[in-house]
Symmetry: C2
């Protein structure tokens, strides 16, 4: 059976997506979200997030890929200022320790960076991973044990891109002792808090990542990160390479 025969046979089945293709406009919109997404720390507006919008973000996260269809994520919605204050205290402790790890000028720059919007963002969302959600043996997790954590990370990225399309900023705060974040939110030992996200309307999105603008690190040249058929097997004449420039 040729591929076009298969196509004819399967096109009418309800098991298959009928709207297979994206229009040029739809495709561009997906790239607009990907390129326009920013880690937001300092531009949050206090406006509450309407429930229908928040629901769409969570549904987008829930439709992330997950190993063995495990769906290991849960979502803690943080709106109570006293809970935010506990999370912020956990951040402050860790951030003071972090600042000590950067020497001299780098340390001074680090202390000037605004790294989170825990108190200002109207909503915090903690995305977790329950490693036992589907029992001990999970399809696709038999050999790489971290695949369940990676599934929760995919949920974070889905939520982040959906938020960008909704005009909402998201900032991922990772400067915590995991135990302190657990304590702040009452998360038991068996559950991994994968991400704490600050979510809300923003004054504006920056055109470029803040760490790039601040001169902390440049955007790397993508062509230097691509190899062919083996680690660091470069092929300088490959016609793909000149196409790997920023659009």
């Amino acid at each position: 059976m040729s591929a076009s025969d298969v196509r004819a046979v399967t096109a009418s089945s309800p098991a298959h997506q009928l709207e297979h293709a994206f229009s040029e406009t739809e495709r561009a919109a997906v790239y607009k979200a990907i390129y326009g997404r920013r880690d937001v720390r300092g531009q949050f507006l206090p406006d509450p997030i309407p429930d229908d919008v928040l629901a769409r973000l969570l549904l987008a996260a829930h439709h992330a890929p997950s190993v063995g269809f495990m769906q290991p994520w849960s979502f803690i919605i943080v709106r109570d200022p006293s809970v935010k204050a506990r999370v912020h205290a956990a951040f402050r402790t860790a951030n003071a320790e972090a600042a000590e790890l950067f020497d001299g000028e780098r340390g001074a720059t680090y202390r000037r960076l605004k790294l989170e919007g825990i108190l200002e963002a109207p909503v915090g969302i903690c995305v977790t991973c329950d490693r036992d959600r589907a029992g001990p043996v999970v399809v696709g997790r038999t050999h790489i044990r971290t695949m369940d954590l990676y599934s929760s990370v995919c949920a974070v990225e889905n939520l982040w891109l959906a938020a960008r399309a909704e005009g909402l900023g998201v900032g991922w705060v990772s400067i915590f002792h995991e135990a302190h974040l657990r304590d702040a939110l009452g998360i038991p030992e068996r559950i991994v808090p994968v991400a704490y996200l600050c979510v809300g309307r923003v004054i504006h999105f920056f055109a470029r990542p803040e760490l790039e603008t601040a001169g902390w690190r440049p955007r790397l040249d993508l062509a230097s990160l691509v190899a062919f058929d083996g680690w660091e097997r470069r092929s300088d004449s490959d016609p793909l390479l000149p196409l790997l420039r920023e659009p």
Copy 2:
């Protein structure tokens, strides 16, 4: 200064995105990619991926969020059939072991599942993580050491959604001994192979995840996964909950 004053001050700055908002059509397109994305194993067509399309997928991955703007990822493009054969051999070894872990009926079902398209997909992409790319101390990775791996996972999800918008299927193969995948691709010890992706045109996309259709696991009820201001702090009357239904 009120929020609207701030908006007036900043709107003309080139440091800010001028096209802040998404139209209704653009927003719907982002959700179409999120809901329509599938883990593709068995519907690949052999057609090569045009270089301009492959470049767009890699650029989308390269614009993922990364901790401390670390950009820890590299991409190995696999097109050589002999390399694919080595990767497939690594899969076969691990998959035979995996099948032994499921008992009785479950084991029989497992053996019938098609879990990868390594040989059929025209392109494989291994997404890696170089944990030393930005030196030992990285902003945001000081306390949660896995944040760099999570950045590479965000690159995978960006690539996956971009591929869906391009009409390309992606399947993430995770049934490998990490050492065998390293050997197949010549990846050194210090680099983590985070994902091996099969990428290509497809006959069709399924309407639902294959493991759901096969009765392996159902889609979980999202409302049961959402809590408020603390782990498992339910609030049955919260107006968010009735909105957490499939669209």
